[in-house]
Protein backbone atom coordinates (compact mmCIF):
# COMPACT_ATOMS: atom_id res chain seq x y z
CA UNK A 1 0.00 0.00 0.00
CA UNK A 2 1.56 3.26 -1.03
CA UNK A 3 0.07 6.63 -0.20
CA UNK A 4 0.38 8.81 -3.29
CA UNK A 5 -0.49 12.50 -3.13
CA UNK A 6 -3.19 12.95 -5.78
CA UNK A 7 -1.56 15.94 -7.42
CA UNK A 8 1.70 14.02 -7.75
CA UNK A 9 -0.14 11.15 -9.48
CA UNK A 10 -1.78 13.54 -11.97
CA UNK A 11 1.43 15.40 -12.76
CA UNK A 12 3.41 12.18 -13.10
CA UNK A 13 0.94 10.75 -15.60
CA UNK A 14 0.94 14.02 -17.50
CA UNK A 15 4.77 14.17 -17.60
CA UNK A 16 5.03 10.61 -18.86
CA UNK A 17 2.42 11.42 -21.50
CA UNK A 18 4.40 14.47 -22.59
CA UNK A 19 7.67 12.51 -22.72
CA UNK A 20 5.96 9.79 -24.73
CA UNK A 21 4.50 12.30 -27.19
CA UNK A 22 7.88 14.00 -27.66
CA UNK A 23 9.54 10.63 -28.18
CA UNK A 24 6.99 9.67 -30.83
CA UNK A 25 7.41 13.02 -32.59
CA UNK A 26 11.20 12.62 -32.69
CA UNK A 27 10.83 9.07 -33.98
CA UNK A 28 8.48 10.29 -36.67
CA UNK A 29 10.90 12.96 -37.86
CA UNK A 30 13.81 10.54 -37.61
CA UNK A 31 11.92 8.18 -39.91
CA UNK A 32 11.41 10.98 -42.43
CA UNK A 33 15.07 11.98 -42.37
CA UNK A 34 16.24 8.40 -42.65
CA UNK A 35 13.97 7.83 -45.62
CA UNK A 36 15.97 10.40 -47.56
CA UNK A 37 19.39 9.15 -46.52
CA UNK A 38 20.70 5.92 -48.05
CA UNK A 39 21.09 2.89 -45.86
CA UNK A 40 24.17 0.78 -46.65
CA UNK A 41 22.48 -2.34 -45.35
CA UNK A 42 19.98 -3.34 -48.00
CA UNK A 43 18.18 -6.60 -47.45
CA UNK A 44 19.16 -7.05 -43.82
CA UNK A 45 16.45 -7.53 -41.21
CA UNK A 46 16.21 -4.78 -38.57
CA UNK A 47 17.76 -5.53 -35.19
CA UNK A 48 14.85 -4.22 -33.16
CA UNK A 49 11.24 -4.97 -34.00
CA UNK A 50 9.03 -1.97 -34.14
CA UNK A 51 8.66 -0.19 -30.84
CA UNK A 52 10.90 -2.48 -28.82
CA UNK A 53 13.65 -0.03 -28.00
CA UNK A 54 11.48 3.07 -27.75
CA UNK A 55 11.76 3.34 -23.98
CA UNK A 56 15.53 2.97 -24.02
CA UNK A 57 16.15 5.40 -26.86
CA UNK A 58 13.73 8.16 -25.96
CA UNK A 59 13.40 8.02 -22.17
CA UNK A 60 16.29 6.15 -20.60
CA UNK A 61 19.08 7.64 -22.73
CA UNK A 62 18.08 11.17 -21.84
CA UNK A 63 19.03 10.61 -18.21
CA UNK A 64 21.65 7.96 -18.78
CA UNK A 65 24.25 9.74 -16.68
CA UNK A 66 22.30 9.01 -13.51
CA UNK A 67 22.52 5.24 -13.83
CA UNK A 68 25.40 2.77 -13.85
CA UNK A 69 28.02 5.16 -12.55
CA UNK A 70 31.48 3.51 -12.55
CA UNK A 71 33.50 3.60 -9.34
CA UNK A 72 37.24 3.32 -9.00
CA UNK A 73 37.77 2.26 -5.41
CA UNK A 74 36.63 -0.74 -3.35
CA UNK A 75 33.13 -0.39 -1.89
CA UNK A 76 33.41 1.20 1.51
CA UNK A 77 31.86 4.10 3.43
CA UNK A 78 33.31 6.63 0.98
CA UNK A 79 34.35 5.89 -2.54
CA UNK A 80 35.50 7.45 -5.80
CA UNK A 81 32.97 7.89 -8.56
CA UNK A 82 34.37 8.36 -12.05
CA UNK A 83 33.01 11.47 -13.76
CA UNK A 84 31.58 11.14 -17.22
CA UNK A 85 30.87 13.78 -19.86
CA UNK A 86 28.69 13.64 -22.92
CA UNK A 87 29.06 15.59 -26.13
CA UNK A 88 25.87 14.49 -27.82
CA UNK A 89 23.17 15.08 -25.23
CA UNK A 90 23.65 11.85 -23.31
CA UNK A 91 23.52 9.45 -26.22
CA UNK A 92 27.07 8.36 -25.42
CA UNK A 93 29.10 8.99 -22.30
CA UNK A 94 32.86 9.26 -22.14
CA UNK A 95 34.83 8.53 -19.01
CA UNK A 96 37.18 11.26 -17.91
CA UNK A 97 40.18 10.75 -15.71
CA UNK A 98 38.68 12.79 -12.91
CA UNK A 99 37.21 11.08 -9.88
CA UNK A 100 35.24 12.61 -7.07
CA UNK A 101 35.09 11.31 -3.57
CA UNK A 102 31.50 10.50 -2.81
CA UNK A 103 29.42 9.19 -0.03
CA UNK A 104 27.45 6.34 -1.48
CA UNK A 105 24.03 5.04 -0.68
CA UNK A 106 24.29 1.68 -2.35
CA UNK A 107 24.16 -1.92 -1.20
CA UNK A 108 27.46 -2.77 0.50
CA UNK A 109 25.63 -3.77 3.56
CA UNK A 110 28.00 -5.06 6.19
CA UNK A 111 31.14 -3.38 4.90
CA UNK A 112 32.99 -6.67 4.83
CA UNK A 113 35.03 -6.11 1.67
CA UNK A 114 38.39 -6.39 3.42
CA UNK A 115 41.02 -9.16 3.80
CA UNK A 116 41.10 -12.11 1.40
CA UNK A 117 43.02 -15.13 2.60
CA UNK A 118 44.13 -18.31 0.77
CA UNK A 119 41.37 -20.76 0.06
CA UNK A 120 40.31 -23.59 2.38
CA UNK A 121 38.16 -26.49 1.11
CA UNK A 122 35.01 -27.82 2.76
CA UNK A 123 33.39 -24.52 3.42
CA UNK A 124 29.89 -25.61 2.46
CA UNK A 125 29.67 -27.12 5.93
CA UNK A 126 30.27 -23.66 7.38
CA UNK A 127 27.42 -22.37 5.26
CA UNK A 128 25.06 -25.14 6.30
CA UNK A 129 25.65 -24.24 9.93
CA UNK A 130 24.91 -20.61 9.17
CA UNK A 131 21.64 -21.12 7.32
CA UNK A 132 20.34 -24.02 9.39
CA UNK A 133 19.43 -26.43 6.59
CA UNK A 134 20.80 -29.98 6.08
CA UNK A 135 22.50 -29.31 2.70
CA UNK A 136 23.44 -26.50 0.34
CA UNK A 137 24.75 -25.95 -3.17
CA UNK A 138 26.52 -22.87 -4.43
CA UNK A 139 26.55 -21.16 -7.81
CA UNK A 140 28.84 -18.58 -9.33
CA UNK A 141 26.16 -15.96 -9.97
CA UNK A 142 23.13 -14.84 -7.99
CA UNK A 143 20.82 -14.10 -10.94
CA UNK A 144 21.61 -17.44 -12.53
CA UNK A 145 20.74 -19.25 -9.29
CA UNK A 146 17.11 -18.19 -9.56
CA UNK A 147 16.70 -18.45 -13.29
CA UNK A 148 18.39 -21.87 -13.58
CA UNK A 149 16.87 -23.50 -10.48
CA UNK A 150 13.19 -22.82 -11.08
CA UNK A 151 13.07 -24.64 -14.45
CA UNK A 152 14.70 -27.66 -12.83
CA UNK A 153 12.39 -27.74 -9.84
CA UNK A 154 9.10 -27.44 -11.67
CA UNK A 155 7.89 -27.95 -15.21
CA UNK A 156 4.76 -28.08 -17.30
CA UNK A 157 1.80 -29.08 -15.19
CA UNK A 158 3.10 -27.27 -12.14
CA UNK A 159 2.03 -23.95 -10.67
CA UNK A 160 4.24 -21.10 -9.53
CA UNK A 161 2.60 -18.42 -7.42
CA UNK A 162 4.92 -15.49 -7.04
CA UNK A 163 4.63 -12.15 -5.33
CA UNK A 164 3.81 -9.33 -7.72
CA UNK A 165 7.05 -7.49 -6.90
CA UNK A 166 9.48 -10.36 -7.24
CA UNK A 167 12.87 -9.82 -8.78
CA UNK A 168 13.44 -10.24 -12.49
CA UNK A 169 15.56 -13.35 -11.98
CA UNK A 170 12.58 -15.12 -10.44
CA UNK A 171 10.28 -13.97 -13.23
CA UNK A 172 12.84 -15.20 -15.77
CA UNK A 173 13.15 -18.57 -14.08
CA UNK A 174 9.39 -18.93 -13.75
CA UNK A 175 8.86 -18.10 -17.43
CA UNK A 176 11.59 -20.47 -18.51
CA UNK A 177 10.22 -23.36 -16.51
CA UNK A 178 7.07 -23.81 -18.57
CA UNK A 179 4.85 -23.97 -15.49
CA UNK A 180 1.77 -21.81 -15.13
CA UNK A 181 2.58 -18.61 -13.32
CA UNK A 182 0.09 -16.74 -11.16
CA UNK A 183 0.75 -13.59 -9.25
CA UNK A 184 -0.63 -12.54 -5.88
CA UNK A 185 -0.82 -9.03 -4.52
CA UNK A 186 2.37 -7.94 -2.88
CA UNK A 187 2.72 -9.19 0.68
CA UNK A 188 -1.00 -9.89 1.11
CA UNK A 189 -1.42 -13.37 2.65
CA UNK A 190 -5.20 -13.06 2.28
CA UNK A 191 -4.90 -12.68 -1.48
CA UNK A 192 -2.38 -15.52 -1.65
CA UNK A 193 -4.90 -17.78 0.06
CA UNK A 194 -7.60 -16.70 -2.38
CA UNK A 195 -5.40 -17.37 -5.41
CA UNK A 196 -4.27 -20.73 -4.02
CA UNK A 197 -7.82 -21.92 -3.35
CA UNK A 198 -8.98 -20.75 -6.78
CA UNK A 199 -6.12 -22.45 -8.58
CA UNK A 200 -6.33 -25.69 -6.63
CA UNK A 201 -10.04 -25.86 -7.34
CA UNK A 202 -9.59 -25.14 -11.05
CA UNK A 203 -6.61 -27.38 -11.66
CA UNK A 204 -4.39 -27.26 -14.77
CA UNK A 205 -5.44 -24.84 -17.50
CA UNK A 206 -7.30 -26.94 -20.05
CA UNK A 207 -7.48 -30.41 -18.63
CA UNK A 208 -8.48 -29.35 -15.11
CA UNK A 209 -6.36 -32.17 -13.66
CA UNK A 210 -4.78 -31.50 -10.27
CA UNK A 211 -1.49 -29.61 -10.28
CA UNK A 212 1.68 -31.69 -10.17
CA UNK A 213 3.41 -29.28 -7.81
CA UNK A 214 2.76 -25.84 -6.39
CA UNK A 215 5.61 -23.51 -5.41
CA UNK A 216 5.05 -20.15 -3.75
CA UNK A 217 7.96 -17.78 -4.32
CA UNK A 218 8.53 -14.86 -1.95
CA UNK A 219 11.48 -12.68 -1.06
CA UNK A 220 12.85 -11.92 2.38
CA UNK A 221 13.33 -8.19 1.89
CA UNK A 222 11.93 -6.75 -1.31
CA UNK A 223 14.74 -4.85 -2.92
CA UNK A 224 12.64 -1.96 -4.20
CA UNK A 225 10.30 -1.56 -1.25
CA UNK A 226 12.43 -2.42 1.75
CA UNK A 227 9.51 -4.34 3.18
CA UNK A 228 9.90 -7.56 5.07
CA UNK A 229 7.89 -10.50 3.84
CA UNK A 230 4.95 -11.59 6.01
CA UNK A 231 6.58 -14.97 6.32
CA UNK A 232 4.72 -16.59 9.27
CA UNK A 233 1.28 -16.12 7.66
CA UNK A 234 2.49 -17.21 4.22
CA UNK A 235 4.15 -20.33 5.61
CA UNK A 236 0.95 -21.20 7.53
CA UNK A 237 -1.16 -20.85 4.37
CA UNK A 238 1.25 -22.96 2.33
CA UNK A 239 1.32 -25.68 4.95
CA UNK A 240 -2.46 -25.85 4.84
CA UNK A 241 -2.54 -26.16 1.06
CA UNK A 242 0.57 -28.38 0.84
CA UNK A 243 2.43 -25.93 -1.39
CA UNK A 244 6.21 -25.55 -1.27
CA UNK A 245 7.75 -22.29 -0.08
CA UNK A 246 10.75 -20.80 -1.91
CA UNK A 247 12.35 -17.94 -0.04
CA UNK A 248 14.77 -15.60 -1.78
CA UNK A 249 16.93 -13.92 0.83
CA UNK A 250 19.17 -11.86 -1.41
CA UNK A 251 18.98 -8.73 0.74
CA UNK A 252 18.16 -10.17 4.13
CA UNK A 253 20.75 -12.92 4.74
CA UNK A 254 23.58 -11.60 6.86
CA UNK A 255 21.84 -8.30 7.50
CA UNK A 256 18.72 -8.87 9.60
CA UNK A 257 18.05 -11.08 12.55
CA UNK A 258 19.85 -11.09 15.86
CA UNK A 259 22.83 -13.10 14.60
CA UNK A 260 22.37 -12.14 10.96
CA UNK A 261 20.75 -15.37 9.86
CA UNK A 262 18.08 -13.63 7.83
CA UNK A 263 14.38 -13.05 7.85
CA UNK A 264 13.49 -16.46 9.31
CA UNK A 265 15.33 -15.61 12.47
CA UNK A 266 13.89 -12.12 12.61
CA UNK A 267 10.29 -13.25 12.26
CA UNK A 268 10.64 -16.44 14.26
CA UNK A 269 9.90 -18.90 11.48
CA UNK A 270 11.42 -22.37 11.76
CA UNK A 271 13.75 -22.97 8.80
CA UNK A 272 12.37 -26.49 8.49
CA UNK A 273 9.07 -24.93 7.34
CA UNK A 274 10.67 -23.15 4.41
CA UNK A 275 11.39 -25.79 1.79
CA UNK A 276 13.92 -23.98 -0.38
CA UNK A 277 16.03 -21.08 0.84
CA UNK A 278 17.93 -19.12 -1.75
CA UNK A 279 20.25 -16.21 -1.30
CA UNK A 280 23.18 -14.34 -2.72
CA UNK A 281 26.60 -13.49 -1.41
CA UNK A 282 26.85 -10.17 -3.17
CA UNK A 283 25.22 -7.94 -0.61
CA UNK A 284 26.18 -8.85 2.91
CA UNK A 285 29.23 -10.98 2.34
CA UNK A 286 31.00 -8.78 -0.15
CA UNK A 287 31.59 -11.57 -2.60
CA UNK A 288 29.69 -12.93 -5.58
CA UNK A 289 27.51 -15.94 -6.17
CA UNK A 290 24.31 -17.47 -4.91
CA UNK A 291 23.26 -20.51 -2.93
CA UNK A 292 20.35 -22.83 -2.51
CA UNK A 293 19.80 -24.54 0.85
CA UNK A 294 17.33 -27.33 1.40
CA UNK A 295 16.94 -30.97 2.29
CA UNK A 296 19.61 -33.51 1.37
CA UNK A 297 17.48 -35.16 -1.33
CA UNK A 298 16.69 -31.82 -2.94
CA UNK A 299 20.32 -30.74 -3.10
CA UNK A 300 21.43 -34.11 -4.43
CA UNK A 301 18.82 -33.86 -7.17
CA UNK A 302 19.90 -30.31 -8.00
CA UNK A 303 23.52 -31.32 -8.25
CA UNK A 304 22.66 -33.87 -10.89
CA UNK A 305 20.21 -31.86 -12.94
CA UNK A 306 20.80 -28.13 -12.64
CA UNK A 307 22.74 -26.81 -15.65
CA UNK A 308 24.17 -23.97 -13.61
CA UNK A 309 25.97 -26.58 -11.53
CA UNK A 310 26.66 -29.29 -14.08
CA UNK A 311 27.88 -27.21 -16.99
CA UNK A 312 29.13 -24.05 -15.34
CA UNK A 313 32.39 -23.51 -13.51
CA UNK A 314 32.37 -23.48 -9.74
CA UNK A 315 32.59 -20.37 -7.63
CA UNK A 316 36.12 -19.00 -7.68
CA UNK A 317 38.45 -19.64 -4.69
CA UNK A 318 38.99 -16.02 -3.62
CA UNK A 319 35.22 -15.44 -3.65
CA UNK A 320 34.70 -18.61 -1.62
CA UNK A 321 37.30 -17.65 0.92
CA UNK A 322 35.81 -14.17 1.21
CA UNK A 323 32.49 -15.77 2.06
CA UNK A 324 34.04 -18.06 4.67
CA UNK A 325 35.86 -15.18 6.31
CA UNK A 326 32.68 -13.07 6.31
CA UNK A 327 30.65 -15.84 7.91
CA UNK A 328 33.31 -16.33 10.54
CA UNK A 329 33.21 -12.63 11.33
CA UNK A 330 29.42 -12.55 11.51
CA UNK A 331 29.23 -15.61 13.74
CA UNK A 332 32.01 -14.29 15.91
CA UNK A 333 34.14 -17.38 15.34
CA UNK A 334 37.24 -15.35 14.54
CA UNK A 335 37.47 -14.34 18.16
CA UNK A 336 36.44 -10.71 17.92
CA UNK A 337 32.98 -9.28 18.35
CA UNK A 338 33.20 -7.40 15.05
CA UNK A 339 30.26 -9.32 13.65
CA UNK A 340 27.91 -8.60 16.50
CA UNK A 341 29.03 -4.97 16.54
CA UNK A 342 28.38 -4.60 12.85
CA UNK A 343 24.95 -6.15 13.12
CA UNK A 344 24.02 -3.87 15.98
CA UNK A 345 25.41 -0.87 14.13
CA UNK A 346 23.49 -1.58 10.94
CA UNK A 347 20.28 -1.89 12.91
CA UNK A 348 20.93 1.40 14.70
CA UNK A 349 21.96 3.14 11.52
CA UNK A 350 18.98 2.13 9.48
CA UNK A 351 16.44 2.86 12.20
CA UNK A 352 18.00 6.27 12.84
CA UNK A 353 18.18 7.17 9.17
CA UNK A 354 14.66 6.06 8.45
CA UNK A 355 13.12 7.93 11.37
CA UNK A 356 15.03 11.10 10.49
CA UNK A 357 13.94 10.96 6.87
CA UNK A 358 10.33 10.42 7.90
CA UNK A 359 10.52 13.33 10.32
CA UNK A 360 11.71 15.58 7.51
CA UNK A 361 8.59 14.71 5.53
CA UNK A 362 9.96 12.36 2.89
CA UNK A 363 7.88 9.41 1.85
CA UNK A 364 10.04 6.46 2.83
CA UNK A 365 8.88 2.90 2.24
CA UNK A 366 9.86 -0.21 4.08
CA UNK A 367 9.63 -1.67 7.57
CA UNK A 368 11.78 -0.88 10.53
CA UNK A 369 14.98 -2.94 10.72
CA UNK A 370 15.24 -3.21 6.98
CA UNK A 371 18.42 -1.67 5.55
CA UNK A 372 16.74 -0.79 2.24
CA UNK A 373 15.02 2.60 2.19
CA UNK A 374 13.36 3.87 -0.96
CA UNK A 375 12.45 7.57 -1.03
CA UNK A 376 9.54 8.14 -3.40
CA UNK A 377 10.13 10.56 -6.26
CA UNK A 378 7.21 9.79 -8.64
CA UNK A 379 7.86 12.38 -11.33
CA UNK A 380 10.22 11.28 -14.10
CA UNK A 381 11.91 14.66 -14.10
CA UNK A 382 12.74 14.48 -10.40
CA UNK A 383 14.86 11.37 -10.99
CA UNK A 384 17.73 13.12 -12.79
CA UNK A 385 17.24 16.27 -10.70
CA UNK A 386 17.69 14.40 -7.41
CA UNK A 387 20.54 12.30 -8.71
CA UNK A 388 22.54 15.16 -10.23
CA UNK A 389 21.99 17.60 -7.37
CA UNK A 390 23.13 15.07 -4.81
CA UNK A 391 26.15 14.19 -6.91
CA UNK A 392 27.15 17.86 -7.01
CA UNK A 393 27.20 17.83 -3.22
CA UNK A 394 29.21 14.61 -3.13
CA UNK A 395 26.48 12.17 -2.19
CA UNK A 396 25.96 9.44 -4.75
CA UNK A 397 22.42 8.08 -4.72
CA UNK A 398 20.95 5.25 -6.70
CA UNK A 399 17.73 6.21 -8.44
CA UNK A 400 15.45 3.56 -9.80
CA UNK A 401 12.88 4.09 -12.50
CA UNK A 402 10.83 2.00 -14.85
CA UNK A 403 11.11 -0.95 -15.62
CA UNK A 404 12.62 -2.01 -12.32
CA UNK A 405 9.73 -0.30 -10.54
CA UNK A 406 6.17 0.32 -11.69
CA UNK A 407 5.90 3.19 -14.14
CA UNK A 408 4.60 5.83 -11.77
CA UNK A 409 6.55 4.92 -8.69
CA UNK A 410 10.09 6.04 -9.42
CA UNK A 411 12.24 6.20 -6.29
CA UNK A 412 15.69 6.83 -4.92
CA UNK A 413 16.86 3.71 -3.16
CA UNK A 414 19.07 4.12 -0.12
CA UNK A 415 20.86 1.16 1.45
CA UNK A 416 22.54 1.70 4.79
CA UNK A 417 25.79 -0.03 5.53
CA UNK A 418 27.44 -0.86 8.83
CA UNK A 419 30.50 0.97 7.56
CA UNK A 420 28.70 4.32 7.76
CA UNK A 421 29.37 6.35 10.90
CA UNK A 422 26.84 8.63 12.58
CA UNK A 423 28.57 11.78 11.29
CA UNK A 424 28.44 10.46 7.73
CA UNK A 425 24.75 9.77 8.12
CA UNK A 426 24.00 13.20 9.51
CA UNK A 427 25.90 14.85 6.67
CA UNK A 428 24.01 12.78 4.13
CA UNK A 429 20.74 13.70 5.82
CA UNK A 430 21.52 17.40 5.49
CA UNK A 431 22.35 17.06 1.80
CA UNK A 432 19.24 15.01 1.12
CA UNK A 433 17.07 17.45 3.03
CA UNK A 434 18.40 20.42 1.08
CA UNK A 435 18.02 18.71 -2.26
CA UNK A 436 14.57 17.47 -1.26
CA UNK A 437 13.45 21.02 -0.52
CA UNK A 438 14.83 22.19 -3.85
CA UNK A 439 13.07 19.46 -5.81
CA UNK A 440 9.88 19.24 -3.80
CA UNK A 441 9.71 15.60 -2.78
CA UNK A 442 8.69 16.17 0.82
CA UNK A 443 5.22 14.91 0.20
CA UNK A 444 4.28 14.45 3.83
CA UNK A 445 4.17 17.26 6.36
CA UNK A 446 7.41 17.49 8.30
CA UNK A 447 7.31 17.06 12.04
CA UNK A 448 8.12 20.37 13.73
CA UNK A 449 11.44 20.58 15.54
CA UNK A 450 9.78 21.84 18.74
CA UNK A 451 8.51 18.34 19.42
CA UNK A 452 12.07 17.09 19.59
CA UNK A 453 13.05 19.67 22.21
CA UNK A 454 10.05 18.77 24.36
CA UNK A 455 10.97 15.10 24.13
CA UNK A 456 14.51 15.71 25.35
CA UNK A 457 13.25 17.93 28.17
CA UNK A 458 10.92 15.18 29.35
CA UNK A 459 13.73 12.61 29.20
CA UNK A 460 15.91 14.84 31.32
CA UNK A 461 13.28 15.08 34.00
Amino acid sequence: MIKIPYLAALTTLFSYGLLFVFGQLRDFFRKIFDYWSHSKLQGYAPICLGLEDFYIRRLYLRIQDCFNRPISSPPDAWFDVVERISNDNNKTLKRTTKVSRNFPQAPAVLGLMEALQPCIPNWRSVWRIFVGKPAAVVFGMGYVTNSAILPVLIGKGGLIISDSLNHKSIINGARGSGATVRVFQHNTPYHLEKVLREQIAEGQPRTHRPWKKIIVVVEGIYSMEGELCKLPEIVAICKKSKAYVYLDEAHSVGAVGKTGRGVCELLGVDTADVDIMMGTFTKSFGSCGGYIAGSKELIKYLKYTCPAHVYATSISPPAAQQIISSIKVILGEDGSSRGAQKLARIRENCNFFRSELQKMGFEVLGDNDSPVMPIMLYNPSKIPAFSRECLKQNVAVVTVAFPATPLLLARARICISAAHTKEDLIKALEVISRVGDLIGIKYFPAEPKKQQLEETRVKFE
Binding site: I2, P5, Y6, A9, L13, G50
Partner: protein, 157 residues
Amino acid sequence: MANLYVQAMQPTDLNRNTEWFTYPGVWTTYILILFFSWLVVLSVFGCSPGMAWTIVHLSHFAVTYQFFHWKKGTPFAEDQGVYNRLTWWEQIDNGKQLTRNRKFLLVVPVVLYLIASHTTDYQHPMLFLNTLAVFILVVAKFPHMHKVRIFGINADQ
Protein backbone atom coordinates in the same frame (compact mmCIF):
# COMPACT_ATOMS: atom_id res chain seq x y z
CA MET B 1 -5.31 20.03 -2.83
CA ALA B 2 -1.77 19.12 -1.91
CA ASN B 3 -2.96 17.23 1.14
CA LEU B 4 -5.18 14.82 -0.77
CA TYR B 5 -3.69 11.35 -0.62
CA VAL B 6 -4.78 8.17 -2.35
CA GLN B 7 -3.93 4.64 -1.39
CA ALA B 8 -2.59 2.55 -4.21
CA MET B 9 -2.52 -1.22 -4.11
CA GLN B 10 0.37 -2.74 -5.98
CA PRO B 11 -1.14 -4.10 -9.16
CA THR B 12 -0.85 -7.76 -10.05
CA ASP B 13 -0.39 -7.06 -13.74
CA LEU B 14 2.85 -8.48 -15.04
CA ASN B 15 2.67 -6.50 -18.27
CA ARG B 16 4.51 -3.26 -17.61
CA ASN B 17 3.01 -1.67 -20.66
CA THR B 18 -0.53 -1.65 -19.30
CA GLU B 19 -0.02 -1.78 -15.57
CA TRP B 20 0.20 1.99 -15.24
CA PHE B 21 -3.47 2.20 -16.20
CA THR B 22 -4.57 0.62 -12.93
CA TYR B 23 -3.23 3.43 -10.78
CA PRO B 24 -5.44 6.13 -9.27
CA GLY B 25 -5.60 9.42 -11.11
CA VAL B 26 -5.43 7.98 -14.63
CA TRP B 27 -9.06 8.63 -15.53
CA THR B 28 -8.93 12.15 -14.14
CA THR B 29 -5.72 12.91 -16.06
CA TYR B 30 -7.31 11.65 -19.28
CA ILE B 31 -10.38 13.83 -18.88
CA LEU B 32 -8.30 16.84 -17.87
CA ILE B 33 -6.04 16.44 -20.90
CA LEU B 34 -9.09 16.38 -23.20
CA PHE B 35 -10.55 19.45 -21.55
CA PHE B 36 -7.31 21.43 -21.70
CA SER B 37 -6.71 20.48 -25.31
CA TRP B 38 -10.18 21.89 -26.09
CA LEU B 39 -9.16 25.16 -24.44
CA VAL B 40 -5.89 25.18 -26.38
CA VAL B 41 -7.64 24.54 -29.71
CA LEU B 42 -10.13 27.31 -28.95
CA SER B 43 -7.36 29.79 -28.18
CA VAL B 44 -5.12 28.81 -31.10
CA PHE B 45 -7.69 28.60 -33.89
CA GLY B 46 -10.24 31.07 -32.58
CA CYS B 47 -13.12 28.96 -33.96
CA SER B 48 -16.53 28.27 -32.49
CA PRO B 49 -16.73 25.92 -29.48
CA GLY B 50 -18.46 23.31 -31.64
CA MET B 51 -15.67 23.28 -34.21
CA ALA B 52 -13.16 23.04 -31.38
CA TRP B 53 -14.92 20.01 -29.91
CA THR B 54 -15.02 18.42 -33.36
CA ILE B 55 -11.29 19.00 -33.78
CA VAL B 56 -10.63 17.54 -30.33
CA HIS B 57 -12.85 14.56 -31.07
CA LEU B 58 -11.20 13.80 -34.40
CA SER B 59 -7.65 14.18 -33.13
CA HIS B 60 -8.57 12.04 -30.11
CA PHE B 61 -9.80 9.44 -32.58
CA ALA B 62 -6.56 9.59 -34.56
CA VAL B 63 -4.33 9.39 -31.49
CA THR B 64 -6.23 6.65 -29.67
CA TYR B 65 -6.68 4.58 -32.78
CA GLN B 66 -2.97 4.75 -33.53
CA PHE B 67 -1.82 3.90 -30.00
CA PHE B 68 -4.55 1.62 -28.73
CA HIS B 69 -5.58 -0.32 -31.79
CA TRP B 70 -2.78 -0.08 -34.31
CA LYS B 71 0.61 -0.22 -32.60
CA LYS B 72 1.37 -3.72 -31.40
CA GLY B 73 3.81 -4.90 -28.76
CA THR B 74 5.47 -3.01 -25.94
CA PRO B 75 8.01 -0.15 -25.99
CA PHE B 76 10.65 -2.16 -24.15
CA ALA B 77 12.37 -5.45 -24.70
CA GLU B 78 12.26 -6.99 -21.20
CA ASP B 79 9.19 -9.10 -21.79
CA GLN B 80 10.92 -10.89 -24.69
CA GLY B 81 8.18 -10.16 -27.18
CA VAL B 82 5.32 -12.08 -25.58
CA TYR B 83 2.91 -9.31 -26.49
CA ASN B 84 4.21 -8.63 -29.98
CA ARG B 85 0.99 -9.65 -31.69
CA LEU B 86 -1.35 -7.78 -29.35
CA THR B 87 -2.38 -4.17 -29.56
CA TRP B 88 -2.53 -2.14 -26.35
CA TRP B 89 -6.27 -2.56 -26.15
CA GLU B 90 -5.90 -6.33 -26.30
CA GLN B 91 -3.23 -6.23 -23.61
CA ILE B 92 -4.94 -4.29 -20.84
CA ASP B 93 -6.32 -6.19 -17.87
CA ASN B 94 -4.58 -9.28 -19.25
CA GLY B 95 -7.10 -9.69 -22.05
CA LYS B 96 -10.10 -9.84 -19.72
CA GLN B 97 -13.11 -8.20 -21.39
CA LEU B 98 -15.64 -5.77 -19.93
CA THR B 99 -13.58 -4.60 -16.96
CA ARG B 100 -14.05 -1.14 -15.45
CA ASN B 101 -11.11 0.30 -17.37
CA ARG B 102 -12.41 -0.99 -20.68
CA LYS B 103 -15.89 0.34 -20.04
CA PHE B 104 -14.46 3.75 -19.18
CA LEU B 105 -12.37 3.84 -22.34
CA LEU B 106 -15.44 2.88 -24.35
CA VAL B 107 -17.57 5.62 -22.84
CA VAL B 108 -15.10 8.48 -23.39
CA PRO B 109 -15.25 8.63 -27.22
CA VAL B 110 -19.04 8.25 -27.12
CA VAL B 111 -19.39 11.18 -24.69
CA LEU B 112 -17.00 13.24 -26.82
CA TYR B 113 -19.11 12.44 -29.87
CA LEU B 114 -22.28 13.56 -28.12
CA ILE B 115 -20.68 16.82 -26.99
CA ALA B 116 -19.17 17.47 -30.44
CA SER B 117 -22.36 16.79 -32.36
CA HIS B 118 -24.50 18.75 -29.91
CA THR B 119 -22.32 21.83 -29.96
CA THR B 120 -22.16 21.84 -33.78
CA ASP B 121 -25.98 21.55 -33.98
CA TYR B 122 -25.75 18.28 -35.91
CA GLN B 123 -24.58 19.96 -39.11
CA HIS B 124 -22.85 18.22 -41.98
CA PRO B 125 -19.98 17.61 -42.74
CA MET B 126 -18.92 17.58 -39.08
CA LEU B 127 -21.64 15.15 -38.11
CA PHE B 128 -20.56 12.65 -40.74
CA LEU B 129 -16.90 12.75 -39.70
CA ASN B 130 -17.74 12.51 -36.01
CA THR B 131 -20.08 9.58 -36.55
CA LEU B 132 -17.52 7.74 -38.63
CA ALA B 133 -14.87 8.26 -35.95
CA VAL B 134 -17.00 7.07 -33.07
CA PHE B 135 -18.27 4.11 -35.09
CA ILE B 136 -14.74 2.89 -35.82
CA LEU B 137 -13.62 3.37 -32.24
CA VAL B 138 -16.61 1.64 -30.65
CA VAL B 139 -16.47 -1.31 -33.02
CA ALA B 140 -12.75 -1.71 -32.34
CA LYS B 141 -13.49 -1.98 -28.63
CA PHE B 142 -16.14 -4.73 -28.84
CA PRO B 143 -15.31 -7.94 -26.90
CA HIS B 144 -15.94 -9.94 -30.08
CA MET B 145 -13.19 -8.00 -31.84
CA HIS B 146 -10.51 -9.31 -29.49
CA LYS B 147 -7.57 -10.40 -31.69
CA VAL B 148 -9.69 -10.07 -34.85
CA ARG B 149 -8.00 -8.50 -37.85
CA ILE B 150 -10.56 -7.59 -40.53
CA PHE B 151 -9.34 -8.24 -44.09
CA GLY B 152 -5.89 -8.89 -42.66
CA ILE B 153 -5.35 -5.20 -41.89
CA ASN B 154 -2.58 -4.87 -39.30
CA ALA B 155 -2.04 -8.62 -39.23
CA ASP B 156 1.52 -9.95 -38.84
CA GLN B 157 3.56 -11.22 -41.76
